[in-house]
């Protein structure tokens, strides 16, 4: 088990050559970082097997991912993840470590981490004018701050 509920937050990032993978739907590797009380406790990498949208969302939920930081994601996968309580921060780009640091410092909204085309349309949280995560349903807090961290 990756994280014990109530004791930390599991942040997941699909990775490709030390950067965020461009498309979550086809990502092959996932970095899982467990943070507790503002500190990184442990991290590991898992291989994502190509599968259907539902199966991909199910495996993320089974990995107990709380927050998913990703680049492009298709609407069906985004919906399936949110329905399973995963908080998705989409349309991010950049080097994995820099994104992780920005996430911890709540600086993800900076220009350098924004994918082109999906920001500046009055949208918040990188949802590209698409329906934002519903806090009640997805467990995504308004500022996406890590739980118990």
């Amino acid at each position: 088990m990756v994280s014990a509920p109530g004791f930390g937050v599991t942040v997941a990032i699909p990775i490709c050559q030390e950067r965020i993978s461009p498309v979550l739907d086809t990502a092959a590797r996932l970095l899982l970082v467990i943070r507790r009380r503002g500190r990184e406790v442990t991290r590991r990498e898992v291989v994502l097997v190509p599968s259907s949208t539902e199966a991909a969302a199910r495996s993320m939920a089974e990995l107990k991912v709380d927050v998913l930081l990703c680049a492009a994601v298709s609407e069906p996968l985004l919906r399936a993840l949110e329905e399973r309580g995963v908080c998705v921060r989409a349309h991010l780009c950049g080097e994995v470590e820099a994104v992780l640091r920005a996430y911890c410092a709540r600086r993800l909204a900076r220009e350098e981490f924004r994918m082109p085309g999906c920001w500046g349309r009055g949208s918040h949280g990188g949802h590209c004018g698409r329906k934002a995560s519903r806090p009640g349903k997805s467990g995504c807090k308004s500022n996406s701050s890590p739980r118990s961290s």
Binding site: C16, S21, P22, V23, D25, T26, A27, A28, P50, S52, T53, A71, A72, V73, S74, E75, P76, L78, C93, M115, P116, G117, C118, C128, G129, R130
Partner: protein, 449 residues
């Protein structure tokens, strides 16, 4: 901006396909108007960014086509993938890439063009609607004639005899007749008469009363009762026993039947559609099928063409099955390669449309995306040449070749000269003349010598 470059940009902005270029660092250096529309990303935001962050294709991470073009210095053409646009929609596209070189032949970047396949798919759907009738696919002359016939036959409420080889879609036609008839609000019930022994078939068709036999503790309605007011398909009617033929004759003549163990006749209002893969006329001649029952079911006779008699429908059917399996299995297989399609076009399909469906299903097991290649087809189609022409020895004269083709057709149609002539696309009298001229003998069992 130099004049020439401005003209190039204007030209590229006017084409309907998306076009973008990258430098050797994979940063976008040009992004045309169609690319903006398809991806949903404005040019000003795309320029200077890594192409994978702009393009977001399913192959960016695993099999970048631009990288392939730059590495191999060769063009990549018509690769089918999908992108995730700015709205999170998966857009199926076809991409082509090529390296960009300077005057000295040094690679300075790459160019990628892509076409939104949604429009192509929409056009195809429209065309498909014109090429189908109640789930039956076909645009051949033979199928069009049947499509024209169906509404009138469906309306008539007459008993219909469907004749056709296995896999030609007899049940599909029977369902279409039911759906187009005034009985469509009632049930369509199908039963394969050839699959059940007599006693079981009788209880299945007519039902039984409690106490009719051991373990018959309560009444059980038969298929005729279930289909009351609707339509009943009696499939493989040519396989039923003489005793069963007699019972069916009574139902068709008097519209009454008696359940097993029952004493009171039950009236029924069921339209009967009979289907067989044999020639009922021939069975009557052989004394294996009652003549009076034959005339009862032979009110309207529809002969379904085999797939080899309507080869022009093969690509259409392939498209239909590829779309269906893509939807069922969540795949993005684009279709068949030219080689695989050619292999199927020359195959005879003894199992007809059902066999074609199985072949595509087999290919889907081996091919996860892109085009189905010959290697993905079942072994007999994959390993050897399947067509008659390819089996012909080299150096034959035209006359010898014609003789071989005639013999082959007669063997395949089991000596049925009318069917062989139809398959060869010649008149029966021409076939007779040629059989005589070549000294061929077509025995009833089809051993053409």
């Amino acid at each position: 901006m130099p004049m020439q470059e401005a003209v190039h940009n204007q030209l590229l902005d006017s084409v309907p396909d998306g076009v973008f270029t990258v430098d050797t660092e994979w940063r976008v250096t040009f992004f045309n108007r169609a690319a903006e529309q398809i991806t949903g990303i404005p040019r000003r935001e795309a320029l200077g960014r890594p192409c994978c962050e702009v393009f977001r294709a399913s192959i960016c991470e695993s099999a970048c086509a631009l990288k392939q073009a730059l590495t191999t210095r060769r063009t990549v053409a018509n690769k089918v993938v999908y992108i995730v646009n700015a709205l999170g929609e998966r857009i199926p596209i076809s991409i082509s890439t090529a390296p960009l070189k300077d005057a000295n032949g040094k690679i300075i970047g790459g160019v990628e063009s892509f076409r939104d396949l949604r429009l192509v798919n929409e056009l195809r759907k429209e065309a498909e609607q014109q090429d189908s009738f109640s789930d039956i696919i076909g645009r051949s002359a033979a199928m069009r004639q049947l499509f024209d016939l169906l509404p009138a036959v469906a309306e008539s409420d007459s008993t219909v005899l469907l004749e056709g080889s296995s896999g030609t879609g007899k049940e599909l036609f029977a369902r279409a007749l039911h759906e187009l008839s005034g009985r469509k609000s009632k049930r369509f019930v199908a039963i394969n008469c050839g699959a059940l022994p007599d006693t079981l078939l009788e209880s299945e068709l007519f039902g039984y009363k409690a106490g009719a036999f051991t373990n018959a503790r309560k009444d059980k309605p038969g298929r005729f009762a279930l289909a009351e007011g609707g339509t009943m398909l009696l499939d493989e009617i040519g396989d039923i026993s003489p005793a069963m033929q007699t019972r069916l004759l009574r139902v068709l003549q008097e519209r009454v039947y008696e359940p097993l163990g029952g004493v009171e006749p039950v009236r029924c209002n069921v339209r009967v559609i009979a289907a067989t893969n044999k020639s009922l006329g021939a069975l009557v001649k052989e004394g294996r099928f009652r003549e009076d029952l034959y005339y009862r079911v032979h009110v309207v006779r529809i002969e379904l063409p085999s797939l080899r008699e309507r080869r022009e429908d093969i690509p259409l059917l392939i498209d239909h099955f590829v779309t269906r399996f893509n939807r069922l299995r969540g795949r993005d297989v684009a279709g068949l390669s030219d080689g695989a399609l050619a292999r199927l076009m020359e195959y005879d399909f003894p199992g007809n449309v059902r066999e074609l469906e199985n072949i595509i299903e087999h290919a889907f097991v081996l091919c996860r995306r892109g085009l189905i290649e010959t290697a993905h087809l079942p072994p007999p189609l994959r390993d050897g040449e399947s067509g008659v022409a390819s089996r012909l020895p080299a150096g034959l004269t035209l006359k010898a070749m014609e003789k071989l083709l005639l013999r082959d057709a007669l063997r395949r149609t089991q000596g049925n000269r009318a069917a062989a002539a139809r398959e060869l696309g010649i008149d029966v009298s021409t076939l007779f003349r040629k059989i005589k001229a070549f000294g061929l003998k077509a025995s009833p069992r089809g051993k053409a010598k």
